[in-house]
Symmetry: C2
Subunit: 320 residues, 2 copies
């Protein structure tokens, strides 16, 4: 009996969103929980912006710009263009439709709602049945030590500098004091399976794992945890994960990923292009599962979810 | 010699903006200062909104929606419509172009700039040569005691309830601690003439007058101060000024205005439709000047400025 099996996914942005979209095609949506990184969150123009929560939200509601994997489809830029005219900061490229969500969130947070509550409200409005849980309602801020620059904020590194710089270290300001958000630890403790999505291990997964209690649950439940490598053929499909592996002293491939996750996950899913790495992943002490990890369509993402979760999922039971 | 004569205008929103636009057509712009009410300012969605400053800014830069007298011409509503879909607050009707200014202001305030500095930056970007001075950089908040409701915030009364309710009292939270903004008092002290614009005497002019030092300068320089009545034929051209006069115990006409301003202004300009009130304004101890006060075109606003300021202005010297 796998009916009613609960799955929790540790999620960053684009890669996690694509995986979740696939998973939700083949599993009852209300049984899926995503614990989403909030260490990229920041304030701009006074607005509370949660890039990973938003990317997952837009993707699962069908509103995402599928060309970029983030932001809104049919987006317009009237506010940004006017802001540019005024000499304002436009490096983050806030679209008009996207802005509406930031306005809503900021207003609600100002009224005393938590990010968890706001996210739940938005999901309800947009028809998302899966549970999207911000990893924490406390402020955690990723900073990167960039060669010749010192410590810079994540969005400066990632968006303004387009991650075209060498990093030497990273830290998560506020993580010691941060508590896991409501239902995060219980969801991890009570799931039938836990997935570490194919997200950046340093800036998406690590700032979730380092929240008090999260890594402990994963270590205890290691055999139920399956991680999906975000690296294919030595390169991340998106973002700086592969160069970060190298810059931070790890192998620039799924073996490097295995060395990061081996304490937390029993299984690593690697791409079929990297099948020759399977024995080396096993040497790190992980089961290895070789399959197609490229999620350029929803069907391929669903197939990846089915492969990763095996008997946890019943094909055909899912719906969206 | 009236060359180089400096004029300072106490300003609210729409009426003041129209007057200023006329004045700037006939007087060197750099010699005109507007001290603008900030007691309507508020935060919505985390954004710092300054309605009167914005109305004056948009009007003087030619960007105003001339149908309404406030907001932007060629405005669009993409953000608001999406915010409505999310269940957000849309009662204030923030347009896309208008939002850009609020984003800019909020960002700059967050960086430590003052409202005075931000306003100056925006004026420079938009080519406004007159000096727009927020009355204060401290938080002042108009509240109205509404029949059967108790105290409500200004924007709730004015926008959400469309001022279709009876008010019993008003107060300006924070006014005791508020200091006049930079150059406000010196501008009033050093001007060759001071104009109280045809703005709402209770919610636009009073919260400027009550800032420490402002009323004192006007009392001392009373003969240099000319007020323009916002009431024509017993009704305000816009907004709730006339019903507020009655509700707060004043005559619902320019005599009521005179009784409010007589200590601060030597002269009251009233509309030609109300010429029969002239003796009664004089009985309040003010000079009276009867002219056309309806500013439906820039030329008529300019003519009003010339009539109100008389020999202070040299026609034809002005430019924009």
């Amino acid at each position: 009996m796998s009916e009613g099996r609960r799955i929790t996914v540790l999620a960053g942005g684009v890669g996690a969103a694509k995986f979740l979209r696939g998973l939700l095609a083949v599993h009852p949506n209300e049984l899926v929980t995503a614990v989403i990184n909030v260490a990229d969150d920041f304030r701009l123009h006074g607005l509370a912006i949660s890039p990973d929560v938003d990317t997952v939200t837009y993707t699962l509601s069908g509103l995402v710009n599928s060309d970029t994997g983030w932001g809104r489809i049919d987006e317009s830029w009237r506010v940004r263009d006017e802001l540019e005219r005024l000499g304002g900061q436009t490096w983050f490229n806030l679209g008009d439709l996207d802005l509406a969500l930031h306005l809503y969130r900021t207003q609600r947070l100002g009224e005393g709602a938590t990010l968890t509550e706001v996210t739940s409200e938005v999901c309800e409005k947009l028809g998302i049945k899966a549970h999207l849980l911000p990893a924490s309602n406390h402020q955690i801020r990723t900073q990167l030590k960039v060669q010749n620059q010192g410590w810079v904020d994540f969005q400066d590194y990632f968006v303004a500098q387009q991650h075209n710089v060498v990093i030497e270290d990273l830290r998560f300001e506020g993580i010691e004091a941060a508590k896991a958000g409501p239902e995060v630890l219980s969801s991890l403790a009570n799931s039938d399976a836990i997935v570490i999505a194919p997200s950046n291990p340093f800036v998406s997964v690590k700032p979730v794992l380092e929240i008090s209690g999260v890594a402990d649950v994963l270590r205890e439940r290691r055999t139920k945890v399956v991680a999906i490598s975000p690296i294919v053929g030595g390169a991340a499909l998106k973002g700086p994960a592969s160069r970060m592996l190298e810059e931070l002293g790890f192998e620039r491939n799924s073996v490097g990923i295995a060395s990061l996750y081996r304490d937390f996950a029993g299984t690593l899913v690697i791409d079929q292009q990297d099948s020759e790495l399977a024995p080396r992943v096993q040497s790190e002490g992980m089961r290895v599962l070789v399959t197609d990890t490229i999620m350029d369509t929803r069907d391929r993402a669903a197939a990846l979810a089915e492969a990763a979760l095996g008997e946890i999922l019943i094909s055909g039971e899912g719906k969206q």
